[in-house]
Amino acid sequence: MADFGGTDLEAFRKEVREWVAQNFPASLKGAGVSALTEERTEPTPAMEAWRKAVGSKGWGTPTWPKEYGGGGLSSAEARVVSGEFARAGAYNPIGGMGVMMFGPTLLEYGTEAQKQEHIPPICRGEVQWCQGFSEPGAGSDLAALSTKAVDKGDHFQIDGSKIWTSGAQYADWCFCLVRTDTSKKHEGISFVLFTMHQPGVEVRPIGLIAGSSPFCETFFTGARAEKKDLVGPLNGGWTIAKRLLQHERSGLTGAGGSLGGAGKALEDLAKDYVGVDAKGRIADSDLRTRLTTNAMNMRAFQQTAVRAMIEAKGNASPSSATSIMKNAGTELLQERHEMTLEIMGCQGLGWEGDAFSAAELAAVRGWLFGKAFTIFGGSHEVQANIVSKRILGLPDLTQSK
């Protein structure tokens, strides 16, 4: 591909490399932003310094426009940045839902004033966002949501509750779907923003099967959203929500090809725990076949991610391959979790304690948390409905738009 070898790009690579060498604190080498399953810890001064350094360059959100605090880079340049970060053992300190979902959506649908107010703090990593979408009565059928927003002149008054609001206990702001017209379903939903630091908002963390979790229940009692923080038209929130969910899904499946994760390859783990036969093959032939099938499907998945990317650049219409990515990717990941446990045997059943290695304990929690992959961001079944209806043109019985 042409954009990998240009001389301009090489000059830029040199610039990034030098900048990382000067700014990335050596003490943070190999550290990462806390994964979904882990508890959040207070940032150290070194972490704060790194966040501010990256934030001021806009390189945590490298392709976002410069005028809102992004890096203003081409995707080729952005790959250089992530490549140089990885090379130095550095992580991107700017993350969360503001980066993954809300920012790209607001850049598309927000007014100039809204973008000026909300995007720069995301780029600097100063403001954390949470997602007020699902409700106890509106999961897969998201448009059935009932949290109300009543027009009070200069603001909306919000009453109701949301569930699975990841990171709500740490969030500063919420992007939220609210019902502004009870006579219609999809056309009665609006997309509003409000601060979490107000009296009408209460957050309760939810314990999950994997133990502690970043998920919360969030209750609104007379909470307040300013009129200026309505995104898009009144009752026009569903369109924006669908777009945001696309960002969420592409983030969840690692459509960029990162799927597979860090750590020891499953095949090597199997050799360690299960042993090998005289020909060097994994001794359990049944396990070996299933591992191989998964590895091959994983490879085809990654090939599909690459193909979708190339087709998106080269062809006029978007690639239909993207629609299958969430189900295909999450299924394969869950299979890998299951096989990890199987490979570890009884050592893969530890809940806590010194009898188990950190990797073994993490495998158990990862397996349990991984069950969420086919539930959140549009369940496996909802995704199948979407493919059936939007791609294959089969009749819609669920009205899941």
């Binding site: 994994i282 091959m296 490879r299 998945f301 599909t304 193909r307 391959a321 493919v387 089969l394």
Partner: protein, 365 residues
């Protein structure tokens, strides 16, 4: 669908319109009913050859167009859609690749121009038992004479020349053996998919030094990988067509007062098939592109393409019959053709189990 060059787009469009006009599934049915010994319509093959399809991977100095394997894959995919029977894989892909990769200039001069113009058919005579096992070779060349039995030789009745694997001095080698050489005999196989195949026996067939191809077991694997990737492309076309025909049926067949495609039990199975087809397409195109790029990953990518495509064609062909219900069981419907072709194509050049094992071996586990 990969992003194509202009010449690839033209080639694909030419194949698409020829297949629609000249070679719908009814043409395959006619060929089957005729019982023709070679297992394909010779007049149709001549038309294909006239359009240059037999020489897509053959260098220009030997009468081909040298468009490459991805280009040939595009043609095979279109032919696969309507189950068009032809010796293109055996000859224009398998036999041609053996000569291109392992032939001396004299061998190339002798056969490639004829293969490119379709006047000679080459066929790979490799397997000796019911399962693909290219490393298990009993055929032997001793004192300049080849003896052995080869089975399930695709296009074996039509072949003018065989590419035969045989042991010589304990090592696997490939030999070019004209079908009319003394000591060659063949028996037509009548297979469920109605395509051409034969068992071929070689009895003290004289093979001179000019018969041996250069490259041994390594050449054999390279040739087979090209055949595997090309066959996977044909399977991709067939499976895609089988899926589209089934999808149309889901949208038109009415039961319980509604089209059956409105039932979620069928919708989700359709979505699954679509997902598998997308993944398979990626694997097939990646394997063909890797061959054109002479990548070191060709063996694993060819195994991936053949195994993944085998699983997907298996699934889609079964679902085609099941979702069509009773009509899908009748010989008058095309569903059975796809089901039969799927199993025959799966078995050729290694089934899914073979290629999963091979993939794992290449990866070192």
């Amino acid at each position: 669908m990969a992003v194509l060059t202009e010449e690839q787009s033209m080639l694909r469009d030419a194949a698409k319109s020829w297949v629609q006009e000249k070679s719908p599934v009814t043409a395959f049915r006619k060929m089957r009913d005729s019982g023709v010994e070679v297992g394909y319509d010779v007049a149709a093959w001549n038309e294909m050859a006239e359009m240059g399809w037999a020489g897509v991977v053959i260098p220009e100095e030997y009468g081909g167009s040298n468009f490459g394997y991805l280009s040939l894959g595009l043609v095979l995919e279109e032919l696969g859609r309507t189950l068009t029977a032809s010796p293109l894989i055996a000859s224009g892909l398998g036999g041609a690749s053996a000569l291109i990769l392992g032939g001396s200039d004299a061998q190339k001069q002798a056969w490639l121009p004829k293969i490119a113009e379709g006047s000679a058919i080459a066929a790979l005579a490799i397997d000796e038992g019911p399962h693909h096992a290219p490393d298990k070779v009993s055929a032997e060349v001793k004192g300049g004479k080849l003896s052995g039995k080869k089975v399930f030789v695709l296009e074996g009745m039509a072949a003018n020349v065989f590419v035969v694997s045989a042991k010589s001095g304990g090592k696997v080698e490939l030999y070019l053996v004209p079908a009319d050489a003394a000591g060659v005999s063949r028996t037509k196989l009548s297979l469920a998919d109605s395509r051409g195949a034969a068992n071929v026996e070689f009895k003290d067939v004289a093979v001179g030094d000019d018969a041996k191809l250069n490259g041994g077991a390594e050449l054999l694997e390279k040739v087979l990988d090209r055949a595997r990737a090309g066959l996977a492309a044909e399977m991709l076309g067939a499976a895609t067509q089988a899926f589209e025909v089934t999808l149309d049926y889901l949208k038109t067949r009415v039961q319980f007062g509604q089209v059956i495609g409105s039932f979620q039990a069928l919708q989700h199975r359709a979505a699954k098939m679509f997902t598998e087809l997308e993944l398979s397409r990626s694997a097939v195109e990646a394997a063909l592109a890797a061959i054109d790029a002479d990548s070191a990953e060709v063996p694993e990518l060819a195994s991936l393409a053949k195994a993944k495509m085998g699983d997907t064609f298996h699934l889609v062909s079964n679902e085609m019959v099941q979702m069509h219900g009773g009509i899908g069981m009748t010989d008058a419907h095309d569903a059975g053709f796809y089901l039969k072709r799927a199993r025959a194509a799966e078995a050729a050049f290694g089934n899914q189990a073979y290629h999963r094992d091979r993939y794992a071996r290449i990866q070192g586990y």
